[in-house]
């Protein structure tokens, strides 16, 4: 199994044995209550230097309130899993939190060019599916997984991938290093206090994120009884023992949408996106992050009940988003 080519990008080295040892020593197996508020959860489970994954993004069922809390707490030197993301990376970079990113897709604009040119952000190049495959391998406890794409691109040399000879067919195939983030943050429709969680509708890689990560913070629109999970076990997306903290965060994906619950706030999205395109996100961060103490305060002081109602009113589809 000859190595034909290999990327030279830095990557979080796959360490399935180390991950297993972490799970053995840190993850309770029984039903342990894990409710924390957003401040406690981020303070306790996101450390400077962590590799951070989140599922979906700032506008689409993402853990937006937790992303803002990371910025509010000024976490440093984070390495971000940039699959299917958009402005979240921009906010984390401009907030001084993120210095590295594995790129599937990230929001572009002057902020990105400036951050890269100034050396404030180091990027490594992948693609969205290549990143979700890496997470799948991490979620299966494997050191690597093959993929039939990515070979021949100019992202490949900037990555941790290798082109090898398939020992079964003799043909070339790309191997990707498994990814086990230090922490993942995932916004869900429903969770219980122990961390059992349900996501309705499509997602990017939420289940794999939870299984692959050493630390997992779930924020949930609703907290429900554990017995509710037992009534329809096929609907459990994430089982409790993988989760470290549960944050009750109604409108936690704001300004994004949560399918079947509320629409995204168009005006806010334009404001945020505009900041990335102007390359100046500080006013946005000041208004929506630094000048409020918490997600709840932001909802109350910056959004208001009337808009909250309007966003709920605009989301009129229910099919598939409840049991």
């Amino acid at each position: 199994m000859e190595i034909l080519a290999e990327g030279q990008g830095a990557y979080l080295p796959p360490d399935p044995d180390g991950f297993r040892a972490w799970v053995r020593d840190n993850k309770p197996r029984t039903l342990v209550p894990k409710m924390l508020n957003e401040h406690e959860a981020i303070e306790k489970f996101v450390s400077d230097g962590d590799y951070v994954a989140y599922d979906c993004n700032y506008f689409q069922r993402g853990p937006s309130s937790l992303i803002r809390e990371i910025i509010r707490q000024q976490k440093k030197d984070l390495w971000v899993c940039g699959k299917f993301t958009y402005v979240a990376l921009a906010l984390l970079v401009e907030g001084g939190c993120a210095t590295r990113a594995d790129i599937g897709f990230v929001g572009f604009g002057p902020w990105l060019s400036k951050a890269v040119a100034a050396g404030r952000l180091q990027t490594y190049e992948y693609s969205n599916v290549v990143m979700t495959y890496r997470l799948q391998a991490g979620a299966q406890g494997l050191p690597f997984i093959g993929v039939r794409s990515f070979g021949g691109t100019e992202g490949f040399p900037q990555s941790g991938a290798k082109l090898v000879t398939d020992p079964f067919s003799g043909k070339p195939v790309v191997l990707l290093p498994a990814l086990n983030p230090d922490v993942s943050i995932i916004h869900v429709h429903q969770a219980d206090v122990y961390g059992n969680a349900r996501v309705f509708g499509t997602g990017i890689s939420h289940v794999d994120c939870a299984l692959a990560s050493k630390k997992v913070i779930v924020s949930a629109e609703e907290i429900i009884e554990t017995d509710e999970f037992r009534r329809d076990p096929a609907r459990t997306s994430i089982p409790h023992f993988t989760v470290d903290a549960v944050v009750h965060a109604p409108f936690g994906a704001y300004p994004g949408t949560v399918q079947g619950r509320y629409a995204s706030d168009v005006q806010h999205v334009v404001e945020c996106f505009g900041g990335t395109m102007r390359g100046d996100l500080q006013p946005y961060l000041e208004k929506w992050v630094y000048s409020v103490d918490s997600h709840d305060e932001m909802l109350e002081k910056r959004v208001g009940w009337k808009k909250i109602q309007a966003l709920q009113r605009r989301e009129t589809i229910r099919e598939g988003y409840s049991i």
Partner: protein, 283 residues
């Protein structure tokens, strides 16, 4: 159907792509913008049963209209009444298994071999280039769908001899290069559409080949907006203009405020000929 007499060149682009969409093929399209508008238009006029999927694992939805620019992926209206919901790997796996015939993509740059850049304009090394968002799902689409359709503008800087960065694979360096890099055989670029022209690829050389032009431009105008000389098909067809029925759907259901299609130049029929319009924008 009635040929239109006043339309945006980007509307024309969407109409042209919609007409090559085939009912019996399966598609992977981005979550918004021109690629999606093309297949939604085709569903409404030319291929009602055609099925598409999106990157978040929505399989064969019946998206709720009118389309909203913020109604991108992982949104209820975009995934409405799909046949299946999964995740990104659901989409990736179906493509890797060969179940997806055609991918439709926007691109920043495309070169002679159909390579796609969505990462950087200028030098990647050193960090001084102008950075973009990366391949997203395009790398998988370009590698694993049997064919890909690219959509871009007809501009010199969009058609360099070699893209500044190969984010997603075309034919790479030419015949055999995809397979040598582990990509599935029999796949690759198929068409490039711009508002002004339709390109294919010459089978043997894997090089971009001009096949058709829009009724409001000449071959020379097209070639002037490319940084390299493509192969030229023996016969250059002229693309049909948009039809009123197509525009009606684009304007009332797909891009109601013209956010995507309203940009660029407008075209009108004057003295029996299609020419660039004096009036820009919808009436």
């Amino acid at each position: 159907m009635t040929p239109a007499t006043h339309f945006a060149e980007r509307e024309h682009l969407i109409c042209a792509v919609s007409r090559v969409i085939e009912e019996e093929k399966s598609y992977w399209v981005g979550g918004g913008g021109e690629p999606l508008y093309s297949i939604l238009l085709a569903q409404r006029l030319y291929a009602s049963g055609v099925q598409y999927m999106t990157e978040d694992g929505v399989i064969a939805p019946q998206s709720m209209m009118p389309w909203d620019p913020l109604m991108t992926m992982v949104a209820s209206r975009a995934g409405y009444r799909a046949l299946q919901w999964g995740t990104m790997n659901t989409a990736g796996n179906f493509a890797q298994l060969g179940y997806v015939d055609v991918g439709i993509l926007n691109t920043l740059q495309v070169d002679r071999y159909g390579n796609i850049n969505s990462t950087v304009l200028g030098e990647y090394e050193g960090g001084q280039g102008r950075r973009f968002g990366g391949p997203g799902g395009a790398d998988t689409i370009a590698a694993q769908c049997w064919r890909t359709i690219l959509m871009t503008d007809q501009q010199k800087r969009k058609f360099p001899e070699r893209v500044d960065f190969v984010s997603s694979p075309g034919f790479l360096d030419g015949p055999g290069a995809r397979e040598a890099n582990g990509l599935p055989p029999g796949t690759g670029p198929w068409r490039v559409f711009t508002p002004w022209a339709m390109f294919g690829y010459e089978e043997q050389s894997c090089e971009l080949m001009l096949m058709a032009i829009s009724p409001f431009v000449t071959v020379d105008m097209v070639l002037a907006e490319m940084s390299f000389e493509p192969k030229i098909a023996p016969t250059i067809e002229t693309l049909d203009p948009p039809m009123e029925e197509e525009l009606e759907i684009i304007r009332t259901q797909l891009d109601t405020d013209g956010q995507t299609t309203g940009r660029g130049q407008w075209v009108e029929k004057r003295d029996g000929k299609y020419v660039f319009a004096e009036t820009q924008g919808r009436e």
